[in-house]
Amino acid sequence: MQKKFVIPVPVRYAINTVLIAFFLIAANSMIQGGGLGRAQTAIIIQIGYFIILAVSLNIITGYLGQLPLGHAGFMAVGAYAAAIFWRYHFLPDTANIIAGLIIAGVVAGLFGLLIGIPALRFKGDYLAIITLGFGEIIRVLIVNLDWLTNGARGLQMPRSVRYSSFLVVYICVILTCIFIHVIMKSRHGRAILSIRDNEIAAESCGVNTVYYKVAAFVISAFLAGIAGALYAGNFAVLIPSEFDFMMSINILMIVVLGGLGSMFGSVVAAAVLTYLPFLLVPLAEYRMIIFSLMLILMMIFKPSGLMGSYDFSLSRILEKIINFVISKKGGKNDAKV
């Protein structure tokens, strides 16, 4: 048997970095130059934070194997944390944006810790109901903490700065995907996956399941908080009713449609499900019917989601191509001998 060609790690990282940088610069200059209309740009930005919301929820549903229904709660916490911080803009713009995003993530992560420790003692339906309750409590709190959030009237965002620009949103998207990838391809990620597959066996292997469940929950909440901040930065007024149960369900729908445990699937599904409503504007009244039908058909014909558990890897594809070419050449040489 022939030795398989494997792309060395530094080369792999270099290829990915170059491609990502190229994509960011090209897309950004296109948008800056007015190559895309305002509406199109707005959709692309919206897709960006839904990608982060979906891949962060996927950590819990896909990798840890639990079903929380309160993702919008963490998103709301992040959105308000950033918005309130941004109202007191005292830093230079770039630093201000970065600080706001980090604060949003950290505050949402703290909430994740607070909810995760008690909630993760339960599984299945119980966890779903507890997190659902949490999401609703957060929304009610935001409505009632008038002095801080301006309640149901909504919080005015500062006008002077463009927080959720294409570049900011997509740098966050890419960092999020890399962040999740490097964790999942490590002993920590394997620990999380082992809990999903068999909790008792994981414990018997010395995996501290309580720690990893809470850690997964906190990471997921942290990222949802950042997505919330990007969401807040995209609007002139932040309204609490946006972060209701339906928001959590929408995010969950993206994850399920993309395939539980497939980050690539979440990305694709976030794009499709965010863009679809704009295509369906003429059919606005039937939107939810179409969505539900899609989901039902999916469950019948491809219950593992669009991508199953497949994850996209450019270097793996390159390796396959190179190995294919090598094997062809090798075959010819063999024939000559």
Binding site: V182, D197, S204, C205, G206, V207
Partner: protein, 255 residues
């Protein structure tokens, strides 16, 4: 408490509601013993494993590992103390590869922190590389090193049982608890498995506690046997002693 015993149970017992599943279980296992735990179906053998590994909390009695009382430990800490096990109803990480399964067994040995993983520090690369080599070494005991990319759930039944043993070994145990490892294997496979269990016992210098309900299987490799019936220890001794023990004969014929 003798130092040379890796595992010691004193008056161990558990009740499920009104049912006493295990009662007054006593055993002393030396550091390199291959010990057999036999008994008819439903005798309480698996329950003993669950008590040892703290999947169940004992109602009565104590378990000592290398002289350390495991009273307040959970399953994770029991593993860190040196107890590793396989399961009668296989519990692999079905959707993970063979390599990943064993790497979960190496979880605590690999040891790098979250930051090393996130920033891909040298400690990450070093530990991962070493772990992958360890995985291949361990799998080679059963000649499974070519299966690393396979999904655990897609393996044939016998290989799944062997993989469970490898995963348990990966946690560097002092005593390996095997729950009917030969179940579902044909005689040739069973024979080879028993040889490999002996090999593991010699190579890693660890004790093995082997559950089996078929008495003949364990006679060949165990120096000592304990027999459970209806949750009670009815006999302990060498295979020869056990074979001629009237209580054991009755339990097996009665069953």
């Amino acid at each position: 408490m003798q130092k040379s015993n890796v595992l010691e149970c004193v008056g161990l017992g558990i009740d499920f509601g009104g049912l006493t599943a295990v009662n007054d279980f006593n055993i002393e296992i030396g550091t390199t013993d291959i010990y057999g735990l036999i008994g008819p179906n439903g005798a309480g053998k698996t329950t003993v494993f669950n008590l040892l590994t703290k999947v169940y909390k004992p109602t009565r009695g104590s378990v000592f590992v290398n002289g350390v009382d495991t009273k307040n430990l959970n399953t994770v800490k029991a593993n860190k103390l040196g107890l590793a096990r396989t399961f009668q109803n296989i519990r692999l990480f079905q959707n993970m590869t063979v390599q990943e399964n064993v790497m979960v067994g190496l979880h605590n040995e690999i040891g790098y922190n979250l930051a090393s993983a996130i920033f891909r520090l040298p400690s990450y690369w070093r530990a991962e590389k070493k772990a992958k080599e360890r995985v291949c070494d361990l799998l080679s005991i059963f000649g499974m090193q070519d299966m690393i990319e396979h999904k655990a759930g897609s393996l044939p039944y016998g290989s799944q049982r062997r993989l469970e043993i490898v995963r348990a070994l990966a946690t560097s145990p002092k005593i390996l608890l095997l729950d009917e490892p030969a179940a579902g294997m044909n005689p040739a496979e069973t024979d080879e498995l028993m040889k490999n269990i002996q090999l593991i016992n010699e190579k890693f210098k660890i004790a093995v506690l082997l559950i089996e309900h078929d008495m003949k299987l364990v006679m060949g490799i165990c120096e000592k046997l304990a027999v459970l019936n209806y949750g009670m220890l009815i006999a302990k001794g060498t295979p020869a002693e056990i074979q001629s023990n009237p209580a054991v004969i009755e339990a097996y014929l009665g069953a």
